[in-house]
Amino acid sequence: MRRYKLIGFLYLTPALLFVLVFTAYPFAQMVWVSFNSWSLITPPRFIGLDNYTRAFNDRQFWVSLTYSLKYTVLITPILMVGGYLIALLVVQNTALRRLTRTIVFVPFVIGLGVSSLLWYWLFNPTFGLIDKFLLDIGLISKPIIWLGTNADMSTWAIIASIVWKVIGFGMLMFVTAIQSIPTEVNEATMVDGASHWQRTLRVTLPLTRRTVLLVTLISVIGSLLAFDQFYIMTAGQPFNQTATAVFYVYLNSFPYLRLGYGAALSVIIAAIVLAFTIVQLILTRRSTV
């Protein structure tokens, strides 16, 4: 038995070493750097918690953090409700529904950068097809400038593109969860004379709660850490109003070379994500009891 434990540990070692060297060590280094003032050119200088107090008083950081939260709060319900409704639509195994499932999942496998470039083109007021189409059907009389001039408009345009890109993931997870509900459960409720929507609300939804919570967690973390779509589609414009928290970290770390400050911001964001994860895990655990 003892030998068995040792062999098991041996199989675990490569992954442990990899994470130790390429994730834990850089993370520890980042935490250390966050207590320093450092611009790559000059050697790091220890300044204690100054970077953190500076972050607390940095208006743009609060704007970015609030913006990331706002984006998360706006997009998550759309993804969850939309994904679940599509799942209910296509859950049965007919040819048409299988095909729809396959197609809805397609955008999920293409890259976020690539899909952002694609939508950057579609939303372009001069060369893009969205304004062209809206003009042709007479819904608008002059092209709308979607990205980079109006913060709300930019946010909704980006949300549309991301919903298109990732809604298939939630759908697939929900479809598999709904399909794994034993048929007897559904038959029993049919006997009760429950309508389709009553059954969905009272039986299907509670029985798939774990999956709903898991997908919500993945979606919330992904949205809080959003970067690529904003980097490509708005570059934070107008006036850094659409600069997400991670975008602001990127700006500080690379173009501005404030490595210490960027590291402190990263630590704060990681702490926020950790808090969300813990809350979610507690909810999941409670729902399984």
Partner: protein, 300 residues
């Protein structure tokens, strides 16, 4: 009323209920079909118009107002992309090399780790698991600076190996999650039979688990490929030499490239198309495995 009668009545009712349901579905069948088709159209249309735009002539790709469909099919945009900077093949080669190495690393690390976590009584196993999932909560964009400094020391900047390591760290938590759950899902009897036959852990792994885990392996490989093939920022930060650039980096650069006084939209669409094709191709080819891999891994 005996239990059996209740059950059979229930079955009877449910059958009629089912029939009523089908009837109901019958009336709504056209509506459902219409919604399915509309949904599919919305999902496919952006990709379709982009692929079509890549086939426009140089002049038409830059036309104002734009056209929906190319009036003549032309490979001009692809020709420009083919010879862009060091040539398309060079960047595709970098991307492909990095992606294959990422797949190898992800599988090489998570198959043994999943085996260990799913099948061995290791003390403090959950702690190790959480430690290995650590990258999940750290924005990897934040780790780029320390990673870059480390890679400079290890002489891994501007190499495929360095980038593949970075991509593996991003992909590791998900891969491990899938692997561990899939190892746990294999019935005990299979393993016991092999152990009784006198096989050691290595034989059990290769003879029993690997064949049973094909869906999980395909899923991990596929996601590793997609992540690596598409990753932009890390590649931008870690590589400074143009010869080491990957496809997404060149594509982002091509956005600012000009032709006829603006972004070269045609070439950009050609690049988008070429990036998308392998992703959709492997997804459709391996769909069968992939869905059941996700199922066994994610829904435990």
């Amino acid at each position: 009323m005996s239990v059996q009668t209740v059950e059979s009545t229930a079955r009877e009712v449910s059958r009629t209920g089912g029939r009523a349901g089908r009837l109901f579905a019958g009336r709504n069948r056209y509506l459902t079909a219409a919604v399915c088709l509309a949904l599919s159209t919305i999902m496919v249309l952006p990709i379709l118009v982009s692929v079509l735009a890549s086939l426009k002539t140089t002049a038409e790709a830059a036309a104002v107002p734009p056209t929906y469909f190319p009036s003549t099919i032309s490979l001009d945009s692809y020709a420009r992309l083919w010879t862009y900077q060091a040539g398309l093949l060079h960047y595709v080669g970098n991307s492909l090399g990095t992606a294959l190495l990422t797949i190898a690393l992800a599988l090489g690390l998570t198959i043994p780790a999943g085996y260990a976590l799913g099948r061995f009584p290791i003390p403090g196993k959950e702690l190790f698991f959480v430690f290995l999932l650590m990258a999940l909560i750290i924005p990897y964009q934040a780790l780029l600076t320390p990673m870059f400094l480390m890679f400079v020391q290890l002489k891994l900047t501007n190499t495929i190996v360095g980038l593949a390591i970075l991509h593996t760290t991003i992909q590791l938590p998900f891969s491990l999650y899938i692997m561990r759950n899939s190892f746990e899902a294999v019935p005990n009897e299979l393993e016991e039979a092999a152990l009784i036959d006198g096989g050691g852990p290595w034989q059990v792994l290769t003879k029993v688990f690997l064949p049973a885990l094909t869906p999980a392996i395909v899923t991990v490989a596929l996601f590793a490929f997609i992540t690596s093939w598409n990753e932009l920022l890390g590649s931008l930060v870690i590589n400074s030499k143009e010869s080491a650039f990957t496809l997404p980096v060149i594509l982002a650069a091509a956005r600012t490239e000009t032709s006829l006084g603006g972004t070269d939209w045609g070439m950009l669409q050609a690049g988008v198309t070429i990036s998308i094709i392998p992703c959709i191709g492997v997804y459709l080819l391996l769909q069968k495995y992939y869905v059941s891999g996700l199922l066994s891994g994610a829904l435990k």
